[in-house]
Amino acid sequence: ELDLKKLEPILEEYVLLLTEADVAYEVAEELIEKFKERLKGKKIRRGEDEKKIIEDALREAIYDLINIPGPDLVEEAKKAKAEGRILKIMFMGVNGVGKTTTIAKVAYMLKKAGITPVLAAADTFRAGAVEQLKQHAERIGVPIVTKPYGSDPAAVAYDAIEFAKARGFSVVLVDTAGRMHVDVDLMNELRKVARVIEPDYKILVLDALTGNDAVEQARFFDEAVGVDGVILTKVDADAKGGAVLSVAATIKKPILYLGIGQGYEDLIRFDPSWFVERLLGE
């Protein structure tokens, strides 16, 4: 039988290892605490490598935590098209995480699959935000609906849906302004957008470089607006992406895609086993 007392230092090491991979400290601590329960009463046969057994068990525990099935947006778009309805996806998150770029990547992915989405430039606040999305739309070759700076974001999103209906497009991707999750007025503004357009998916965009704050971001957005899935960006910045665990543990919502560069092709589906390898592998 495993001697948990003796393992205490190793388990503490794991907490640090996880925090070094940017898993939020409280999440890492709790994960290892629960993991201890799992180890209780585990038997080892003579000659078996104790450390390997523990590590395999930890891999399993992490895999179980993050293996939350989520929608494939291309499949969803195809379904919507076949059924003659409009798939509405709204992107949200704190400032600078990569929302606008991610929308461009998703638009590119859909276009490549034969479905042309409409972009809604509902960030009417940040300098250059409309021009940024417009340039993406032009490069990718998809329509975009804009309004002057200072316009009501909900009105832009609404117009984009009307536009899609009128012209027979079946997907609308709504870009929203970055905002701090603790800014009550701005979170209410986001709620209003959601109320007006009733999105099929509200996607939280999260920066893989984020440390402990990932927990806060996930919790606040989920409570205020509701999160259906998460996209983690900038994974190419050598970030281990521990935020994946922070999110899974906090709001139990699936990670859908990872952003792995600034190009349109740099969006991949999230694969839990790949991620566990990255987190714990050599």
Binding site: T19, V94, R126, G128, H136, T210, N212, D213, D238, Q262
Partner: protein, 291 residues
């Protein structure tokens, strides 16, 4: 700067446990607090190891109690971590003063460039902004709009010759009599070799008086390697922490201080142009330590 720390340590040491146990308990708590604030784990372990060693080895001078001595040790080591408690000097040391903004994607460079333009304009300087981010769609429009809002000189060119734009922009600004010239560059990270090379080339051409590293308060453990790479490529002169209006504590910036030796000069506390403050060490220490 650390009165709050002093109180916290004092309170902790009031416990009835023996000295060594108290020290161990305190060190554990401190570790937790710092890691939760995104201070680099390795830095935290180094710091707490040093505190423990000193606490158990050093003999207090005659008249001082061991517990008082411990407070002094913690105080010293933390002051060290935070890079001292002097408020930064934000006055340009010569005219014209050329600042080059660098940082990872989305950290807040362009916005901070606009804020700095306002900050110095309000203080009577003639300011020029140069938009040398040729990668991000809309980046030049973004800075142009900010320059117009503040009412300062603005330079950019179409096309993707970032080095040339920066060089000609600084020359142009000097000719126009600008006293503070700020060059905005594209976001980049330490695995983007081409972009790092570009950053080095821009610095070579414009020879900035100050390279300003912009760090997002929410960044975690990658802050250290990131700052290291940036510092190796173009030596960092100062640091700005952005987005301190959120819930992130900003401990990542301490890694940047540790590896570059550069002071934190400004903090960003919102998206608006006037939401920039000169860095106050005391307030920041209190935030990181949760005092």
């Amino acid at each position: 700067m650390l009165e709050g720390v002093r109180d916290a340590v004092r309170k902790f040491l009031r416990s009835s446990a023996d000295y060594e146990t108290s020290v161990n308990m305190f060190v554990k708590e401190l570790q937790k607090t710092l890691i939760k604030s995104d201070v680099n784990v390795r830095l935290v372990l180094q710091l707490t190891r040093r505190i423990k060693e000193r606490a158990l080895k050093e003999k207090p001078p005659p008249g001082a109690s061991r517990r008082d001595w411990f407070i002094k040790i913690v105080y010293e080591e933390l002051a060290n971590l935070f890079g001292g408690d002097v408020e930064p000097d934000v006055k340009p040391k010569k005219i014209p003063w050329v600042i080059m903004m660098v940082g990872v994607q989305g950290s807040g460079k362009t916005t901070t460039t606009g804020k700095l333009a306002r900050f110095y304009k309000v203080r009577g300087y003639r300011v020029a902004l140069v938009a040398a981010d040729t990668y991000r769609p809309g980046a030049k429009d973004q800075l142009r709009q900010l320059a117009e809002r503040v009412g300062v000189l603005f330079y950019t060119e179409p096309g993707d010759d970032a080095v040339g734009i920066a060089k000609r922009g600084v020359e142009w600004a000097k000719k126009k009599g600008a006293e503070i010239i700020i060059v905005d560059t594209a976001g980049r990270h330490r695995k983007e070799a081409d972009l790092l090379k570009e950053m080095e080339d821009i610095a070579k051409e414009i020879n900035p008086d100050e390279v300003m590293l912009v760090i997002d308060a929410s960044i975690g453990q990658q802050a250290k390697p990131l700052a290291e790479t940036f510092h190796k490529t173009t030596p960092i002169g100062s640091i700005v922490i952005t987005k301190l209006d959120g819930t992130a504590k900003g401990g990542g910036a301490l890694s940047a201080v540790a590896v570059t030796g550069a002071p934190i000069k400004f903090i960003g506390t919102g998206e608006k142009l006037d939401e920039l403050e000169v860095f106050k060490p005391k307030k920041f220490v209190a935030r990181i330590l949760g005092l």
